[in-house]
Symmetry: C2
Subunit: 217 residues, 2 copies
DNA sequence: GTCTATAAGGGGATAGAC
DNA sequence: GTCTATCCCCTTATAGAC
């Protein structure tokens, strides 16, 4: 709608990285991110091609490379952008209310993420599976710190007798593993259950039961 | 040791696929399988190159292609060969002894597989993550059938009151997910725990506790 | 059976017109 | 900003000598 001021070429808007962007640039980069997410998630870094990303984004390959220097630049920018969102559910785990409910809510949020954002899940899975070559620093920095922080919180709950004794870090690993499994191994799950079956309702029941029995005092 | 009879060029030995093989052929193909496993597991199908496999196998690329028609042939043969071994732990789940112990033993066997055969785990993970393009038939055939068979067994245990009520198929999924996680997401686990930490002892404690609390009547 | 050389094609990235 | 054309490397696979 109504945007006379965006005829000004050097935009006054700023992106996270601090580079000025016109409206059209923002739209294009958004399309590229969306296309790159689909292609990188489905094919992995090596398997993805600029042709495929350009096709998906509805633009030519040189046009795509006008907005991003290289394939690697797209991948790095994309994964950095998504990492924040990806860790949000864990960040929300806090000390308000009942500890067990908080953990079960975290499980629910993570399972919702797998259901609603399977491409994001597979993007990270692809990356980590191959040794996390592009995000080592994020994992051993931001992620490690967040896990340590939340592990301390969980350990307090154990010590206070609010939940049963449990290794907090492996508890977190198990929540990641079990919830992301439904996105990452989707092909296998549907091969076993049938293509038309929606596994998520039963998965939620199963996982909430599992962690309740594991943790309830 | 002592093998005069293998100077006979047309071997009397047979491989699974029925093709006659000389001793040297068996050694070479074994080397290729070993190299292909390393490279496909680390790089995925697209990321793997014949150069890398040939280097790892200690032979030239044309020599490698003398033994296998194509990259795809190597991958298909390898994954078919490994699938049997990969499903063995689940096949061993049977009705002798205590149900809960049988399931906990299955968890232990699967975790041992992750520890001792992480490349195999990552090979399958890569394949399934990208939609299982090469093994769809194995998943919806052999695997599906095996899961159905073992689910029935587990359901009997539930009905007989030997273990607590649980969805058998999701129980199996969760065992796969949790145990394979330690192989597939190794990079993330070591980023969080530190490169020198061996996660397996704590992982075993955690998982046995988890499934005991989940299933014990 | 194994090698060197090379064909054939895919894919990342750039040049330069518009 | 966007396009067509193109460069060049990497990768799969084959030809043909030894």
């Amino acid at each position: 709608m109504c945007c006379n001021w965006n005829s000004i070429n050097v935009s006054m808007r700023q992106e996270a990285n601090g580079k000025a962007q016109t409206r059209i640039q923002k739209e294009k980069t958004a399309k590229i991110y969306a296309a790159a997410l689909s292609v990188f998630a489905a094919q992995g870094y090596r398997g993805a091609t600029l042709d495929a990303i350009a096709l998906e984004a509805g633009m030519s390959k040189p046009n795509l490379l006008y907005y991003f220097e290289s394939k690697e630049t797209i991948h790095t920018a994309l994964i950095g952008k998504l990492m924040e969102t990806w860790l949000d559910p864990l960040r929300e785990l806090n000390d308000d209310g009942e500890p067990l409910d908080n953990i079960l809510d975290y499980v629910k949020r993570k399972l919702e993420m797998s259901r609603n954002y399977p491409r994001e899940s597979r993007l990270f899975a692809n990356e980590i599976l191959q040794g996390a070559p592009h995000i080592h620093h994020l994992l051993s920095g931001e992620l490690k710190q967040l896990v340590e922080e939340k592990s301390t919180l969980i350990q307090h709950w154990v010590t206070a007798g609010k939940i049963r004794n449990v290794d907090p870090v492996h508890l977190i690993f198990s929540i990641w593993s079990l919830t992301q499994h439904y996105a990452d191994f989707d092909a296998q799950i549907h091969a076993v259950l049938g293509a038309d079956t929606d596994p998520y309702p039963d998965a939620e029941d199963y996982l909430l039961t599992l962690f309740s029995r594991m943790l309830q005092v």
